[in-house]
């Protein structure tokens, strides 16, 4: 048995995005010892990512300040979860060390990731996710003068375009796969959420096209053009960068590894199942924010607040926030209806298009597989460093395969940290 540090807290929150911050702020005044861990360098999650290329909105600072005001809340940034070595315990790792954290209550606020789908040329340097491009720019990626094409689906495309333009890029096209009718219907529905309507107006973009999807990216060592299909016509546009996102997928890995039950979302993905108090199927574990289905930061804040109160046993305060949550649940439902992916998107990969970027497995090697396990065992799909996080989502969309529950380590970890699992025979070591 190794002598690895063992720490305790009353409440452990995984994820310091809007949901995790709200949970900590709601639970803070109880005086409980609270730890918030997040793998990013600073709190804020995907939407309030800080960096030399970010201009943080006032709300982000307000929540961050609120988090700092509670001496009983400890924020551990740059920290990821590696495994669950024992009941009510997680194995954590940062750049310096690995340690075990024991908790009485756990709130999962692990957010969402982009659905990234394969098309010819998607592995070329210069292709990123749409939210991914935003994140990279906020962290200082220079894009000044670059011609950028943004393609895929959902409001995140416009947010990415605005971020790229503010950083000096020329956004030459925003290609939305949904129809004009669907997008117009969504825009009209925003009157029910005035804050969102105001935001949409500021994001309006002259290069925006509907019923438009990506065909391929061209280039040698890097992207030099993109082919788009719009209304049956193909068009080639010269560009240095392509940013593609097809909506968001709840990040359920940690919840699944712990054994939390899942539920299908309206968008066809799987999310962590929660009840009215944001409790999962397991005692002592709550979940909030986009790991329970994606729907924006306001919904994440409402859910996080409810989860924070519920976790410290303040049912009354939790209940006060249910109406706010319902309002943003309705917004999320409208979002999913409007930006549902067209079956045409499944036709993007060609036989030689790589689906698994880690093991370089082409589409043709997967078409006759019986499912995810077959693809993994016989084609090595999902066996690389990302552990199927990218190709697993893609395969679920393309072939309807449900990825099996993840096994530890949850993310690649140092040997010294994995040694912390020694002595725990109940853990399945890979």
């Amino acid at each position: 048995m190794t002598a690895m540090a063992l720490e305790h807290c009353d409440l452990l929150i995984v994820g310091a995005g809007p949901a995790g911050m709200a949970a900590a702020v709601a639970a803070g005044p109880s005086g409980a010892s609270i730890a918030v861990i997040d793998d990013n360098p600073v709190p804020g999650g995907q939407i309030w990512r800080d960096g030399p290329g970010a201009s943080l909105p006032a709300a982000a600072r307000t929540w961050r300040d609120a988090l700092e005001r509670h001496a009983n809340v400890r924020v551990c940034s740059g920290t990821r979860v590696v495994a669950a070595p024992a009941r009510n315990e997680l194995l954590l790792e940062d750049a310096e060390r690995g340690w075990r954290m024991r908790w009485n209550k756990l709130i999962l606020c692990t957010g969402a990731r982009e659905l990234l789908l394969p098309f010819p040329g998607w592995t070329l340097p210069g292709v990123t996710g749409a939210g991914g491009l935003q994140a990279l720019i906020k962290a200082g990626l220079p894009v000044e003068g670059e011609r950028i094409v943004i393609a895929g689906s959902g409001p995140l495309l416009l947010a990415a375009a605005a971020t790229a333009r503010a950083a000096g890029a020329k956004v030459v096209r925003v290609a939305e796969q949904a129809s004009f009718a669907a997008v117009a219907g969504f825009a009209a529905s925003l009157l029910r959420w005035p804050g969102k309507a105001a935001q949409a107006v500021t994001l309006a973009d002259p290069q925006y096209r509907t019923s438009s999807r990506i065909v391929s990216a061209q280039g040698g060592a890097q992207v030099d053009s993109v082919r788009l299909l719009q209304g049956g016509r193909e068009e080639e546009i010269a560009c240095e960068r392509i940013a593609c996102g097809f909506g968001l997928m709840p990040n359920t890995q940690l919840g699944r590894m712990l054994g939390c039950a899942l539920t299908p979302t309206e968008a066809g993905a799987q999310a962590l199942a929660v009840d009215a108090r944001q409790a999962t199927s397991l005692p002592d574990i709550h979940a909030a924010g986009e790991c329970t289905g994606f729907g924006g930061s306001e919904r994440a804040l409402a859910q996080g607040t409810i989860a924070g109160y519920a976790a410290i046993g303040n049912k009354h305060a939790a209940k006060q926030h249910e109406a706010g949550r319902a309002r943003w649940d309705a917004f999320a439902a409208q979002l999913h209806r409007s930006f549902a992916l067209s079956p045409d998107i499944r036709r993007m990969p060609r036989p030689d298009t790589l689906v698994c970027r880690c093991e370089d497995v082409p589409f043709s090697a997967l078409v006759d597989c019986s499912g995810w396990t077959d693809a993994k065992l016989h084609r090595r799909c999902g066996m690389g460093a990302c552990q199927g996080r990218v190709c697993g989502d893609a395969a679920q969309f393309l072939f309807g395969w449900m990825p099996p529950a993840p096994r530890p380590p949850l993310s690649p970890a140092r040997i010294a940290t994995l040694a912390g699992l020694a002595g725990h025979d109940d853990v399945d070591r890979q």
Binding site: L116, R357, V390
Partner: protein, 83 residues
Amino acid sequence: MSVPTLLLQIDGQPVRVKAGSSVAAALRLAGGMGVARTSVTGQPRAPFCGMGVCQECRVLIDGRRRLACQAVCTEGLRVETSE
């Protein structure tokens, strides 16, 4: 007011970045579209998801394998792109 910068090395080449930049941003400043690694069949790959999911940006930072998109640059950092 000038923005504070710092100096690091990428594959032995000096690169100057704004303080607070990620190593992914530094890779782009070093040239090209920020290639971080080579795939199993020898193709160049650069940061893709921007959020710690795809692992396409993994590099050696002061000898440790880390994700360029989630690592913040510090003065004198030594980054090596990887196989």
